[in-house]
Symmetry: C2
């Protein structure tokens, strides 16, 4: 709390400096802050104040701050458009390539072309290549600001290269070793560089078993490699092993957050990432799912309608519809979550397909049997009708088993067919399980009709 | 695929070396692998083979590997118990303190005391302190292997200190500056150390605005700081600003994964972390939720039972029970997910409480109105009964609005009362919303009874 207040005071002073034109004081205080805090300050300003900021700070200084705040910021476009064109272009070329590309890919093509035409040819060419990598691949999250050296030099000369590049590289904690054709041949951490004697040759101290990722690799798989190996950065190569860029751990944290939010959204049938919306917009995003499921629910309603005679003869049956569909839906949701999670962990998919589905069905039989017995006892006592209790209990057990089957089989099949298993959301499974549960319930009930007509 | 196969071949050779007693070849190949790969190999061995490994590798070498594999490994206990006591104790003291503590905290107290008594006094004292920090706090995930220096020296001499500590420190990429009493007074990154001139004084180049966390801070808040600032490590202090340890980004990735799995589990009403279980055990974990919700579902059944006369007079009402409860449940799940997510982002909780709940209710009114109109039209045409359509549509709209209210209000209240909002799981919200939906539905239907008796 104290630190936040302290920061508030600093922000107040900075705003005063802006308003009163104290360029020197502003620069000193501002540049002394962490880039994240600079970003917090910048985002609290009015447009008029921001325009002064652009005249007080260099494109490089604003670019460093933009590197930190660009993630998930809906206003970046507006910020960009209020800068002079050449200032914005220079700032973009000063940003790390991965972040500049993120930002550019939110603009329309004509605007992108405008900015690229104002940069120096080399930066523009690099960004143009980067803009073509597919979303969610290594190419789309890598930066090109890495440090590379050749093997045929001493630790001392490598340290000298490093000092030159330390100011602009995204990370200097791994140094990649390449041959004449820029093939990745080794890696050495700065830690090893420091530990080893200055006169050692890089070729002798580097590690030749480099873990790298391909430019087209899925970002989720890359995140898994980071988790396994505890790396701070990984090199990205093309299919001929040319070094193209690096992925750093801060980007991987964003990937992990993104994937977690997407799994969570899938389970709930709503995109939880977009939360600062007005009710009309939010409703617009949720309705497609709700209406689709409404039609699936209509199938359940038609099915019950088909059994209406049964219900009119034994209205007691209506009492337990929601209990059976509800409980089966809950069990199906559990199965779904376990199956989707197992797919996400994705070790050894082939074996786990049948193992998961069979495991879930067996779990369904056990939970179904116990839940069924419980409800049998309750109904038998409450309604004084053990036959009715038996029907409800039996239907419950079968409905839960089928819900577990659907909850595990559907996401596994989705995944096998190449779709995102999270499309089989919780609401979809519960709505589908309503249908199967009602079918099971009324079929079992029909068999025992004579025992509770009129009850 | 190629890399995996290559690794398989290496593993085969290593096993042969073990069986044939080629100590030298084994050590060379094994120590050349990344510690994660060493761990993969080690975990593929039989107990007899592991016993040979302990005689081929030093406690330090095994400890380095254990640092990487200890996370979420259920067999660590067994591995530990098959080593000689003194070997295990030395290995534990060679591991990073955070990992050693993780491992020790899975053992019972007598065993912990046994290992601690075999270590040197200093290591044992350090671990004993660490074992007392509460779960999920900075203290429980910090390591004590950091590099600290005093300000009154040159960059050159600091680099010298760093070289000495580089082999044992968990990270050398931030160097923390402390005063005589070990108060944290500054920080300098290795990058800055390298960029600056060798004769500069540390006091002049260090940053005095150090972002640090307190030893009792919640790990989720610490993860947020890592996200914001893109740090690789953060210093941990006590309440008098003494430096106690560091939290590193690899541990934060574990925290983020853990929190995501817990949110996901909460939404589904099942612990998705434990997935390698037999059906009986899995059922045992899921049943408490299912049975609890079964009783809540019984309340809904009693309510319908209360309206049984209504149903027997107009059995058509039974047809739409599951459609209304199902759709409202889907909408409530969406609200829940959005509310829990907003709590997790936790910026400015006070304001967002009412904003979230009111926003969700308004969203519910909009989605409810549109869904209600749709079902009104369908029922009016299908059953040729606009009054029935009106009842269903009206009930749908009210039920969705109430489900959105419950879906957002309950997790927000939970959080305000100091509980984990994820306890209000998706299945809980759908089961509760079954109850409110049925109540709404039959109350509205009662008002219009005369229009569809006998239909």
């Amino acid at each position: 709390m104290d630190e936040t207040q302290e920061l508030e005071t600093v922000f107040e002073q900075l705003k005063k400096d802006l308003d009163e034109g104290n360029l020197q004081e502003f620069r000193e205080t501002f540049l002394d802050m962490h880039t994240y805090e600079q970003g917090q300050f910048y985002q609290s300003l009015t447009e008029a104040q921001r325009l002064i900021v652009y005249s007080y700070l260099s494109p490089k200084e604003v670019g460093d701050m933009f590197d930190v705040i660009e993630e998930d910021n809906e206003y970046m476009k507006d910020y960009l458009s209020e800068m002079r064109l050449s200032y914005a272009a220079e700032m973009l070329s000063e940003m790390f390539t991965d972040n500049a590309v993120d930002l550019l890919s939110t603009l329309d093509k004509r605007e992108v072309a405008k900015y690229l035409s104002l940069m120096n040819a080399e930066d523009a060419a690099e960004l143009r290549v980067m803009l073509h990598y597919e979303d969610d691949t290594a190419g789309s999250i890598m930066a090109t600001e890495y440090v590379s050296i050749v093997a045929n030099q001493t630790v001392r000369s490598a340290m000298y290269v490093l000092k030159q590049e330390a100011k602009t590289a995204e990370t200097i904690y791994y140094i990649y070793v390449v041959d004449q054709e820029n093939h990745l041949v080794g890696v050495i951490s700065l830690r090893d560089l420091i530990i080893n004697d200055d006169d050692m040759m890089i070729a002798d101290v580097m590690s030749e078993r480099v873990i790298s990722v391909h430019v087209g690799d899925d970002q989720e798989d890359i995140a898994q490699t980071f988790r396994d190996y505890d790396f701070l950065a990984l090199p990205v190569t093309d299919y001929e092993d040319h070094l193209l860029g690096i992925v750093t751990v801060d980007d991987i944290i964003d990937v992990i957050d993104e994937e977690a939010a997407s799994d969570y959204s899938g389970l709930a049938g709503v995109n939880v990432e977009e939360i600062s919306e007005n009710p009309i917009k939010a409703a617009g995003k949720r309705l497609p799912w709700l209406i689709t499921l409404l039609f699936l629910g209509m199938a359940t309603a038609s099915l019950i309608s088909h059994y209406e005679v049964l219900v009119s003869e034994a209205s007691i049956l209506a009492v337990f519809i929601s209990l059976i569909t509800g409980t089966a839906g809950n069990a199906g949701t559990q199965s779904l979550a376990v199956a989707v999670r197992r797919l996400a962990m994705n070790d050894d998919k082939e074996n786990s397909f049948f193992a998961t589905v069979i495991g879930e069905v067996l779990t369904g039989i056990v939970t179904g049997a116990i839940t069924g017995l419980t409800i049998f006892a309750i109904v038998a006592v409450w309604k004084g009708n053990p036959i009715l209790g038996f029907v409800i209990g039996m239907a419950m057990m079968c409905a839960i088993t089928v819900a577990n089957l659907a909850g595990s089989l559907i996401p596994m099949l989705m995944d096998k067919l190449g779709f995102d298993p999270a499309v089989a959301s919780g609401p979809f499974i519960t709505t589908l399980s309503d249908l199967t549960s009602v079918l099971i319930y009324f079929n079992i009930a029909s068999l025992f009709m004579s025992y509770f007509i009129g009850s």
